[in-house]
């Protein structure tokens, strides 16, 4: 957040510098999407395929959150709040499956 109020042209990035990183990440994500779709047609067990899909999705989400939404640059408090969403989802899934997973 430093320097937000400075009007010094020397610090101002070029458009190319701003665009470069998101563009590279976008390329990676589009390739990942293609891989994910391609993997869906492989003749392997649904379990493996679904696992792979979810891993790719998780990586995509991580890229969006950390790079596009700039979570990488944030302090511990915001990391905590972003993480709390995931932790509470984990609580929901874990305990709800203590019923559905353990039904006799």
């Amino acid at each position: 957040m430093s320097g937000t109020t400075q009007r010094n042209d020397k610090n101002m990035p070029t458009i190319g510098a701003i665009v470069r990183r998101p563009a590279w990440v976008l390329l990676v994500l589009l390739i990942a999407l293609a891989l994910n779709i391609g993997a869906a047609f492989l003749p392997v067990s649904p379990f493996l395929k679904t696992g792979f899909h979810l891993i790719v999705a998780a990586l995509t989400v991580a890229f969006i959150a950390f790079i596009f939404m700039e979570l990488e640059k944030k302090g511990p408090t915001i990391h905590l709040f972003a993480g709390s969403g995931l932790v509470w989802i984990a609580i929901l899934f874990l305990l709800i499956f203590s019923d559905y997973g353990l039904r006799p």
């Binding site: 709390s84 509470w88 929901l92 305990l95 203590s98 019923d99 559905y100 997973g101 353990l102 039904r103």
Partner: protein, 565 residues
């Protein structure tokens, strides 16, 4: 916000309505479009008071019906709608927003030494969401009611009920987002707007309770919103979600519902704990015992509160192994609650206790909450719960927590901060009388319910076998006493606005930043941003001391606020 139109009170410089934030405008516009957290708190208080009485009237009719064993005062269908209305209104339009939206709104910036909440316009927006939700509820009431019970269990709510389920669920949905907005506002305010020197472990416990409750609100309420959305989708669009005939599972609704609604109990009780933690040290003139542990206990309750929802479903047909897990976790959550009760008690030890009305209400809270909590342990135990499920034992248990606990604390807060909010003192004798009457009336109403519940009287029935009549008559008579105890403060508080003694800035010689500004506080809260140099509850840290010496000495002597014994 034009002040061009002044009402008659402005002619007299005596009026409390000309002081501080209350004098910042007398037009309706100056209230309905205010972004001042103190005025929004007043708006909330008025709204919630209306709903408290709506819910109260509904249950009064239920209690009248239950005086006789036969179904003779209202029809069975009307009876269902009455207790449903009571539940929905009391849970979502009184208890959940009660202390946070009123006292939290008013006090949080004052306790933090800031000018307002972080997002004042969002704060006003939350109130409007609550009002819109309330309007839906009023619509439900006028259109003929809803008969699902406050829990909206499927498939009854989503397929079979012939009542206004969609409107009622929408009401809860909209009001829920109002609460979420308040929660986010509180979290950000506490993180970013603390006065210089006000570190996390110098925060008053009321602020901590607002922080933990906000986290619970922000993380639990959206799940309720989605659950109700799914239920409404099944009812309105006909897509199968919970419908067993299409392969769906009605228990899924219960899981998702209680994922919110059990933490919702903590949404109701955590702020009450915060209030009591302010009141007891003040009237015991004693530093709060075990401040750090009180903070950790709040955090632990709000976290573990998410792990126990399955104890509402012991007899629903969920996995018996899941029952074991949830039973065990439910016992665990009692530990931090017990820590809090013991610490309040220990705070009293050696204190110079005085019995002003807020303290009486706080004592009421501790006693009733303890009974409510201990009976909760009974119900966490599966064999006992199987016997007691859907009986009046459960009804009595959660009323001891929610009414004996939260409502007592609400009245403790109302009396404790009334001088700060209005600039007037309430009449002490009347208030003490009302506090004692409320405690008496509460036990009179709900203790018989423990007994008849244990004997097998099921909840939600308008007619019952005659052998239960004695308990029902006792309970209904107690409810009448309780009603008087609720109406009394309503009357003398209004009286005090005009005739009450003028309140000084700090009538209780309490610590805390909110007492360092005039009563009622100016619009901008503090003329000078306060600086904090020591922890909260800067009363005597050992016990008895001559009161005069103590007040004078609170500046210098009690600065040692390290670890407790």
């Amino acid at each position: 916000m034009s002040d061009a139109v002044l009402d008659k009170t402005s002619a007299r410089d005596e009026s409390t309505f000309d002081k501080g934030y209350l004098g910042a405008g007398h037009t309706l516009r100056s209230w309905l479009f205010t972004t001042d957290h103190k005025r929004i708190a007043i708006l909330y208080t008025l709204t919630l008071t209306v709903f408290f009485f709506v819910g109260g009237i509904a249950i009064a009719l239920v209690r009248i019906e239950l005086v006789t064993p036969a179904q003779d005062f209202v029809s069975a269908d009307e009876y269902n709608r009455l207790f449903t209305l009571h539940g929905i209104v009391m849970v979502w339009f009184f208890l959940v927003p009660s202390i946070p939206a009123t006292f939290g709104n008013f006090l949080l910036p004052l306790m933090l030494g800031s000018r307002d909440l972080a997002f004042p316009r969002l704060n006003l927006f939350s109130w409007y969401l609550t009002v819109i939700g309330g309007a839906f509820t009023i619509y439900v009431l006028l259109a003929g009611g809803v008969d699902t019970g406050w829990t909206f269990y499927t498939p009854y709510s989503s397929i079979y009920s012939n009542s206004h389920v969609i409107a009622a669920a929408t009401a809860v949905f909209v009001a829920g987002f109002g609460t979420i907005a308040t929660g986010i506002n509180f979290i950000v305010t506490i993180h970013t707007m603390r006065a210089p020197g006000l570190t996390w472990f110098r925060l008053p416990l009321f602020v901590w309770s607002m922080y933990t409750v906000s986290i619970v609100i922000v993380l639990a309420t959206p799940v309720l919103a989605m659950t109700l959305t799914l239920m409404m989708a099944e009812r309105f669009l006909g897509v199968p979600i919970f419908n067993a005939s299409e392969g769906g599972d009605p228990l899924l609704f219960q899981h998702l519902f209680w994922f919110y609604s059990h933490p919702a109990v903590y949404i109701m009780i955590l702020p009450a704990m915060g209030v009591v933690s302010e009141v007891i040290p003040c009237f015991a003139r004693r530093r709060l015992f075990g401040y750090d542990f009180m903070v950790y206990a709040l955090a632990a309750i709000s976290l573990i509160g998410f792990f126990v929802w399955g104890h509402h479903m012991f007899v629903s047909g969920q996995s018996p192994y899941a029952n074991l897990v949830f039973s065990f976790l439910s016992f665990i959550v009692a530990v931090p609650s017990a820590i809090k009760v013991f610490n309040w008690t220990a705070t009293l030890y050696g204190g110079q206790i005085s019995y002003e009305a807020p303290m009486l209400y706080a004592f009421g809270f501790v006693g009733l909450f303890t009974i409510g909590g201990l009976t909760g342990l009974f119900l966490a135990s599966i064999p006992i719960d199987v016997q007691a499920t859907d009986t009046y034992f459960v009804v009595a248990h959660f009323h001891y927590v929610m009414v004996g606990g939260t409502v007592s604390a609400f009245f403790a807060a109302l009396h404790f901060w009334w001088p700060k909010i209005t600039g007037r003192m309430y009449p002490e004798t009347w208030a003490r009388f009302a506090a004692v009457l409320m405690f008496f009336g509460f036990n009179f109403t709900f203790f018989p319910q423990f007994i008849m519940g244990w004997a097998g009287m099921p909840r939600r029935y308008g007619s019952y076998p005659p052998e239960f009549q004695v308990y029902h008559v006792l309970s209904s008579a107690g409810a009448a006493v309780l009603a008087i105890a609720y109406l009394l403060p309503f009357a003398y508080m209004i009286w005090s606005l005009r005739w009450g003694q003028r309140a000084p800035g700090n009538p209780w010689q309490a610590t805390g930043l909110e007492w360092q500004t005039p009563s009622p506080p100016p619009k901008h809260n503090f003329d000078r941003v306060p600086t904090v140099e020591h922890g909260p509850y800067d009363y005597h840290h050992e016990g008895y001391v001559d009161q005069k010496e103590e007040i004078a000495g609170s500046m210098q002597t009690a600065q040692t606020d390290g670890d407790q014994e």
